[in-house]
């Protein structure tokens, strides 16, 4: 069994690529840390009574004045940085994965349909895509925020920010999926096997799912990885611009936003430790994306 697995091309390639192996190790470590944050983290950053302002701004243990209770030091509120980062990675990854999934479904669905039906429907979808590209993510976030505030009852507003930021990121990412899917459909539609399926009177949905989609899975997977990385960064940027998550729900983005205030003040760990985590995570995901791209595109090997 193991032997057969090892023989498979992907694994062989993977074992030959140190960058991919390192990236995978880093990504898996961070993802596991995020997944099991409640069990690993020494404190719960959401529990207000678990930290105290008196412990504020303590440096990591290896620095002078560090406190063994706080491995990576504490932030301006006395929250344990290590716990915050684990929970932060958890939240950031959840948002990014969710946003990416929404973008994937929405983008691929619209792209396939636009490419398959063409004509007026295609025009409408692509013009919407144009508009979407014209709206920077911050505007989309404000727009979603505004509309949801207008529609939903007042007492739901405070729980909304997570949803708002997820949908906003999803909306700024779907266009890539849609364009790729649409372009692939244009290519595949005229091929014989698809034409044959059409002649046989198969339902368009079936044709797309059975014949077209499998052919574009590779590029879609590559875009998905790259977009996962962008989504994590986008969340951080939205936090910086003040339309992100509140400071008391730590994501990597909000941690960096808070840390930015301490860029010069000597409390370097508040900014640089979460930033380091973010960079490692995003680089790892991007490297895996590169690996996948090479895998699906043998000519590049």
């Amino acid at each position: 069994m193991l032997g057969r697995l090892m023989q498979s091309e992907a694994v062989w390639l993977f074992s030959r690529s140190p960058a991919a192996i390192l990236a995978a190790i880093a990504a898996v470590t961070i993802v596991l840390g995020a997944l099991f944050a409640p069990w690993i983290a020494p404190t719960d950053p959401y529990d207000l009574s678990s930290f105290s302002l008196i412990d504020g701004l303590l440096p990591p243990v290896w620095e002078d004045g560090g406190d063994p209770r706080f491995l990576l030091g504490t932030d301006d509120q006395g929250r344990d940085m290590f716990s915050s980062i684990l929970y932060g990675a958890r939240l950031s990854l959840a948002i990014a994965a969710m946003a990416m999934a929404i973008a994937l479904v929405l983008g691929v669905g619209l792209g396939l349909a636009a490419g398959y039906y063409g004509g007026r429907f295609d025009a409408v979808v692509m013009r919407i895509a144009d508009v979407q590209l014209a709206l920077p993510a911050i505007l989309t976030a404000l727009l979603i925020d505004g509309i949801s505030r207008g529609i939903l009852p007042r007492d739901m507003h405070d729980d909304l920010r997570l949803g708002v930021i997820t949908v906003a990121i999803a909306l700024s990412l779907w266009v890539n999926f849609a364009r790729t899917a649409r372009a692939s459909v244009f290519v595949e539609r005229n091929k014989d096997y698809v034409q044959a399926a059409i002649m046989m009177g198969q339902h368009p949905l079936r044709i797309m799912a059975r014949h077209i989609l499998p052919n574009i899975l590779g590029p879609l997977l590559v875009i998905a990885t790259v977009d996962l990385a962008s989504a994590i960064l986008l969340e951080a940027t939205l936090s910086f611009l003040g339309v992100g998550l509140p400071a008391d729900s730590p994501s990597l983005g909000t941690l960096i936003r808070i840390g930015m205030q301490y860029l010069l003040s000597g409390e370097w760990w508040i900014l640089w430790i979460p930033t380091l985590f973010l960079v490692v995570l995003v680089v790892a995901i991007n490297l895996l994306g590169d690996f996948l791209r090479d895998l699906f595109n043998p000519s590049l090997r």
């Binding site: 529990d47 207000l48 009574s49 930290f51 105290s52 302002l53 008196i54 504020g56 701004l57 301006d76 509120q77 006395g78 007042r154 007492d155 405070d158 003040g242 509140p246 400071a247 008391d248 930015m260 205030q261 301490y262 860029l263 010069l264 003040s265 000597g266 409390e267």
Partner: protein, 548 residues
């Protein structure tokens, strides 16, 4: 009487300015002797003239002194325009375009004697007509500063250089309350179609200025750069040594700090508290820190039947019980907030205005002691031994480290068992939320525009209606305070007035109407070679700036 900040004023504070210091409460006449002193004092000043560039967070949105009643605008325009009176380095009221003023008999109003020989920047002469015109403009419906003139019934031109402001009731504080009422030239405004402040579209006065002040407007690029040059024909002796002053708004605090440290600008205000050490540790830079006149406090929904943002207590509002409010006050460790978040730059506050302002109540200087156990006991007595959860509204871009303070408050309250759900938002939507009663508790900062205790009573303590108590979002109501407001406004005898203010301060403390936390610090950073005067109202006055 103004103790605020004085110990931190630069010791090179011009002697002339020191001679002008007057009490806020006392009217004064400008003596010929004082002029003589200031002249000699000034002749010793270095003659080297300099170009000066400074930055702040917000661009003054208009050059029209009556269009927007906001600190960035009024502060900036005080360099260009002048009022009948002005405030000195210690906030004392001193003569400006009026050389003296006196109360009319029977409290019928105030008579101002105007300064002769003053010209506007375009050369036109200043006289009573300009005062009347400016009053009509500033009190018009198109003006945002008309509330200053609410007590005024009529303004009478006695002669070319005498004007009477008639008031319906005695108004001892009136001269000080119009220190920011700036005078325009009537012919200039009328001739350029700027008779009224711009409402929907701009007019000539939005981007042009013609005042009598120490500087005139040389170039205006809104949001980018505003250029001032000294007014050679200014009536007063110039204490500054600038040849040009350029203002640039820099929104991002880190960028602003970088601009200072790289030497591109000479002065910036404010800088983040946590960066003070960094600036001071560098050669050639210094930080001037003092206290602003703003008190940061927590407010409650006094007129809310139930909590709006509680997970379990949906049928009652525990904050209606004064014991619960006191428990909140006792649960918050202001000293630690000051140390960690405000870097020891703030000062704990006991009242709605900071110590040292006129009317501050010495009898009520104590704030509730930090005592988490006592707070728990109080909560148990009030029937909440297990605490409750509620919503704490908070701005995140209005006051220094406002969001961090709210989160720290929430964490401290959690330790006595009450759980605050912090909702921090940009100030652009904040006031609207508060006006719509969307809070259980909220954070508010208040700086009394008149630098007197009457101001917060009028806006924060009086029962809210169309004109009074307009920032009393929680609807705190005390019949006695409502009754005392008018006598406080009209009482001329200082001791009697202070007795009434003390009574109000007592009621507010006993009822725990608000929980005053601390007085906000004021942090200015500049090159070592720059000398400025830091006024507690955070107005940056170029006339006191010297560059060596």
């Amino acid at each position: 009487m103004m103790v605020l900040n004085m110990d931190k004023c630069p010791d090179t504070l011009p002697q002339a300015a020191a001679n002008h210091r007057e009490g806020v409460m006392f009217r004064t006449t400008f003596s010929a002797a004082a002029i003589a002193v200031s002249t000699t004092a000034l002749s010793a000043f270095p003659a080297a003239a300099e170009s000066f560039s400074w930055a702040g967070t917000t661009d003054p949105q208009t050059m029209d002194p009556h269009a927007v009643n906001a600190a960035p605008v009024l502060s900036f325009l005080n360099n260009i325009y002048e009022g009948l009176v002005r405030r000195g380095p210690d906030m004392g009221v001193e003569p400006s375009l009026a050389t003296s003023w006196e109360a009319l008999p029977d409290g019928a109003g105030w008579r101002f004697t105007l300064r002769e020989g003053v010209t506007f920047h375009d050369g036109a002469a200043f006289n009573a007509d300009d005062v009347i015109f400016s009053y009509e403009r500033a009190a018009s419906e198109a003006s945002d500063v008309r509330s200053w003139f609410a007590p005024v019934t009529e303004v009478v031109r006695v002669d070319d250089f005498t004007v009477d402001f008639l008031t319906a009731a005695p108004n001892p504080l009136f001269p000080g309350s119009i220190a920011n009422f700036m005078i325009l030239d009537s012919d200039w405004a009328a001739g350029n179609g700027a008779e009224l402040p711009a409402r929907d579209a701009e007019n000539f006065a939005t981007r042009n200025a013609n005042g009598t002040g120490p500087f005139s407007l040389a170039g205006r690029d809104p949001g980018i750069e505003t250029r001032l040059v000294p007014n050679e024909g200014w009536w007063d002796m110039a204490e500054h040594n600038l040849t040009e002053a350029v203002f640039t708004p820099i929104g991002n605090p880190a960028t602003g700090l970088a601009a200072l440290l790289s030497g591109e600008i000479d002065f910036i205000s404010p800088i983040p508290l946590q960066d003070v050490e960094q600036v001071e540790s560098r050669d050639g830079f210094k930080v001037l820190s003092g206290l602003e006149t703003r008190v940061i406090m927590l407010g409650f929904g006094h007129d809310h039947e139930t909590l709006k943002y509680s997970e379990e207590t949906t049928d009652a509002n525990p904050f209606l019980d004064a014991r619960v409010r006191l428990a909140v006050a006792q649960a918050i460790d202001v000293a630690t907030i000051d140390r960690v978040i405000m870097r020891d730059a703030a000062e704990p506050a006991s009242q709605l205005l900071p110590e040292g302002l006129s009317g501050w109540s010495a009898a009520h200087a104590e704030r509730p002691t930090f005592d988490a156990e006592a707070a728990k006991t109080l909560l148990a007595e009030a029937g909440y031994p297990d605490g409750f959860s509620f919503g704490l509204m908070c701005p995140n871009d209005r006051y220094i480290n406002d969001e961090a303070v709210c989160r720290a408050v929430a964490s401290m309250l959690a330790r006595v068992g009450i759980e605050a759900n912090v909702n921090a938002m940009p100030v652009r939507g904040y006031w609207d939320e508060l006006r719509s009663d969307n809070f259980d508790m909220y954070l508010l900062g208040w700086s009394p525009g008149t630098f007197d205790a009457e101001h917060p009573i009028r806006f924060l303590a009086h029962t809210p209606n169309e004109r009074l108590g307009t920032w009393n979002f929680g609807g705190f109501s005390s019949a006695r305070i409502d009754e005392l407001l008018e006598p406080i406004q009209q009482e001329i005898d200082e001791a009697a007035r202070q007795a009434m203010i003390d009574e109000v301060a007592g009621i507010l403390q006993e009822e725990v109407a608000y929980v005053p936390l601390y007085t906000e610090p004021l942090i200015w950073a500049m090159k070592e070679s720059v000398e400025v005067v830091q006024r507690p109202d955070n107005f940056f006055m170029l006339r006191w700036v010297t560059v060596n």
